[in-house]
Symmetry: C2
Subunit: 340 residues, 2 copies
C-alpha cells in the first residue's frame, strides 16, 4: 500500500537518513526531543504556565507557489503557526512537523529546507522536537504543530472583545498579497504597479518571509481584551473576532497602515486598496484594547520595532463596516479567503 | 493563491461551518479547546506529569485505500498516533487535526468522518482540541498530532533495551497486512487464502480499525526497559529498537503470535509467514523487559484482554536475526516499509 522509491545518486534514500542527517540537528538542545530518535517527544512546560497549541499545514499551490524555494517553504511553515501563537500572547518553545513529499527529495533541496527551518526556529526561539517524513502523491505539504507557553490563565482569546474597545493592528496591511501579485506576474512588469525594484523585492519578501509579531505578546497579555493574527485578510478575520465576541466593528479606511510600496500601487490603481483590506497572508496581529488601556498599550508599543496603529473600534451589533474618508462604506466583493 | 470552490446543494460551503457543525461537538468537555472557536488550544497537563507528543499523517492511497469509508479513515488517523503514545506507556488526553481535502466534502461524508472520530476518541479517551480544514489538490490527508501524559520521567524509551532483555509483543502479527491483501483482491477470492468469510472480515477489520494497546501502559512503565509500537513490520521496527539501543535481537519464528486466519493462510501458502514478520500496520507493541521482571510482566499481562507473547531476546551485537524451528535463519527480501 505504500510506494517504493526509484533512487538516483543525489536522491536521499531512507526516511531515517533524512531525519538523522537534516532534521536531528534542529532538535539539538531540547532534551524531550530525544534527538528525534524515539517515537514521541516529551514537553515539560514550566510550572505555572499553560501550553498553547496550533496546527496549520501549508500546501504547494495553495499556500505557497509551486516553484517556491525550499528555505522559504520551511520558514513559512513555521511562521504561520508561530504567528497564531503570537496572536494569543504566547511564547514559542517547540514544534513537530509532518513533511509530505511527492518524491524522494534531492540532497540540495533537503539541505536548503533544513536551513530555512533552522533560520526560522532561531528567529522565533523554538526547537523541532518530532515529526514524520512521508512520500505521498500530490503536492509538497508541511504540517507543523507549534507549541508555546503563556503564564497560566493569560491566553488572549478571540471572542472576548467588547463594544467600545479600540482596534489596533501591527505592521502594514496588504503587502504580502501585493508581493504575491508581483511573484505571479509573467512577464514581470513592476512598472505597471507604479513602483520600483526595491519596492517589489520588499513586497515579495513580505509574502515569502512572514514575521510573526512575537514582541507584542507581553502587551497583549497586559492590555488587550481580545487578539488574533491576520491570515485571511483584515475584513474576514476582524469579522471572525466580531462574531466570536458578539460585537460589530467599525474600521476607518484612511487609518489602515500601508507601506510606501502599497501607497504607490494604490496611487496607480485604487483597486489595490481592497487588497489592503481583504488580501491574505498579512500575519499581522489584530487586537482589541479597552479604551482605558489604549494609552498604555500605545505607549508600550512605541518601543517595538514595528508600528502599531489604531484602525477603528468595536461597536454594538454585528459585522465589519469599513468607512471611507467621506463616510461612505467600502463594499468588498469578497471579504477574504475561505478554503471551501 | 487559494482555490475558489464550486458548490452543490449538499456540499458544505465554508470552513467555519464544517468546524462548527461537525468538529466542535468533538471538542465538548475539554475547556482548553474553546469549542474550536479560537485560534489556538490550551493544554494544562496535570502537575507531576510530562506531556507526550506524536504527529503522524495518513494519506489516501498511501496509508489507506482511496475508496476507504470516512469513518474508517478518521479512526485510523487517530489510532496510528494513539498507538505511538501507547508504545511509550502514555495515556491520551487530546489531539489536534489538520484535514486536507481535494474538494469540498459532502455532508454525508463529513458526518461519517466525524462519527468515526467520535467513536475513536471515546475508545481512546481523548478530545479534539483544535485544527485546520483546507482544500488542497491531491489526496485526502489527515494529520493528527496526539497528546498524552505519563507520570513525570516515566516515558518508556525506544533506545534503552539491553542485551539479555526478553522481547514481548502484544496481539497477533501480520493480520492487518493480510486484511489489506483481502481488501485489494479483485475479484475477491478468499478461498485462495484458505479461509472463510468470517476470517476475511476479521482480517479486514484488523487493517481498517487498528486497536492501540493502551491497557499495556502501566505494565510498560512498571517493567519494560524499552518499548515502541509496530507500524512498519516487526523485523524493521525491532531493528530500529536494536539500533537505538546498541544491541541485537534474536527472534523465534515459531513463537510469533499468529491469528487462526493467518495460520490458515500460511498452511495454504508459506509465503504469508513473511507477512507476519515484515507486514506493516500491526499497531501492536514491542517491549523489551529485563529478565528479572519478565515473570511479573507476564503475570500482569495475563489480566489483559489481548495476548502478550515472548518472541525472543536482546543479544549483543546488532541487527535482528529470526530463527526458524530448525535453527536456520529466515531471510527476508524486504524487512518492512520505508517511505523513500
Amino acid at each position: 500500500m505504500r510506494y517504493s522509491a526509484a533512487m538516483t545518486d543525489d536522491t536521499l534514500n531512507g526516511e531515517d537518513s533524512i531525519i538523522q542527517e537534516f532534521l536531528a540537528p534542529l532538535a539539538a538542545g531540547y532534551p524531550g526531543a530525544f534527538g528525534l530518535k524515539d517515537d514521541c517527544a516529551v514537553i515539560a512546560p514550566p510550572a505555572g504556565s499553560d501550553l498553547v497549541v496550533k496546527t496549520d499545514p501549508i500546501v504547494a499551490g495553495v499556500h505557497f507557489l509551486p516553484n517556491a524555494e525550499p528555505d522559504d517553504i520551511a520558514w513559512r511553515a513555521l511562521a504561520v503557526n508561530v504567528s497564531d501563537l503570537a496572536g494569543k500572547g504566547a511564547t514559542p518553545i517547540a514544534y513537530v512537523m509532518a513533511l509530505s513529499l511527492p518524491e524522494a527529495p534531492k540532497r540540495t533541496w533537503m539541505a536548503k529546507f533544513a536551513a530555512g527551518l533552522a533560520e526560522a526556529q532561531r528567529a522565533f526561539g523554538c526547537h523541532l522536537i518530532g515529526g514524520d517524513t512521508d512520500r505521498a502523491p500530490g503536492s509538497v505539504t508541511v504540517t507543523i504543530t507549534a507549541f508555546g507557553t503563556v503564564p497560566a490563565g493569560t491566553l488572549v482569546r478571540r471572542g472576548t472583545a467588547r463594544a467600545g474597545d479600540q482596534i489596533f493592528v501591527t505592521g502594514t496591511l496588504g503587502d504580502a498579497a501585493l508581493g504575491l501579485a508581483v511573484l505571479q506576474q509573467s512577464p514581470l512588469d513592476i512598472g505597471r504597479l507604479g513602483f520600483g525594484a526595491a519596492d517589489a523585492l520588499g513586497m515579495m519578501k513580505r509574502f515569502l518571509r512572514p514575521q510573526p509579531r512575537l514582541a507584542l505578546g507581553p502587551l497583549l497579555r497586559a492590555h488587550a481584551s481580545a487578539a488574533m493574527d491576520l491570515s485571511d485578510g483584515l475584513a474576514k478575520d476582524c469579522g471572525r473576532m466580531c462574531l466570536a465576541s458578539g460585537v460589530g466593528a467599525r474600521l476607518f479606511l484612511a487609518a489602515l497602515p500601508l507601506s510606501a510600496a502599497m501607497r504607490k500601487a494604490i496611487a496607480r490603481d485604487e483597486a489595490w486598496q481592497k487588497t489592503a483590506v481583504s488580501g491574505g497572508d498579512d500575519y499581522e496581529i489584530l487586537a482589541a484594547v479597552p479604551q482605558d488601556k489604549a494609552a498604555a498599550f500605545l505607549s508600550d508599543a512605541a518601543k517595538l520595532d514595528f508600528p502599531v496603529t489604531r484602525i477603528g473600534e468595536m461597536i454594538g451589533g454585528h459585522g465589519v463596516r469599513i468607512d471611507r474618508p467621506d463616510g461612505s462604506e467600502l463594499i468588498l466583493d469578497r471579504t477574504g479567503w475561505d478554503h471551501f
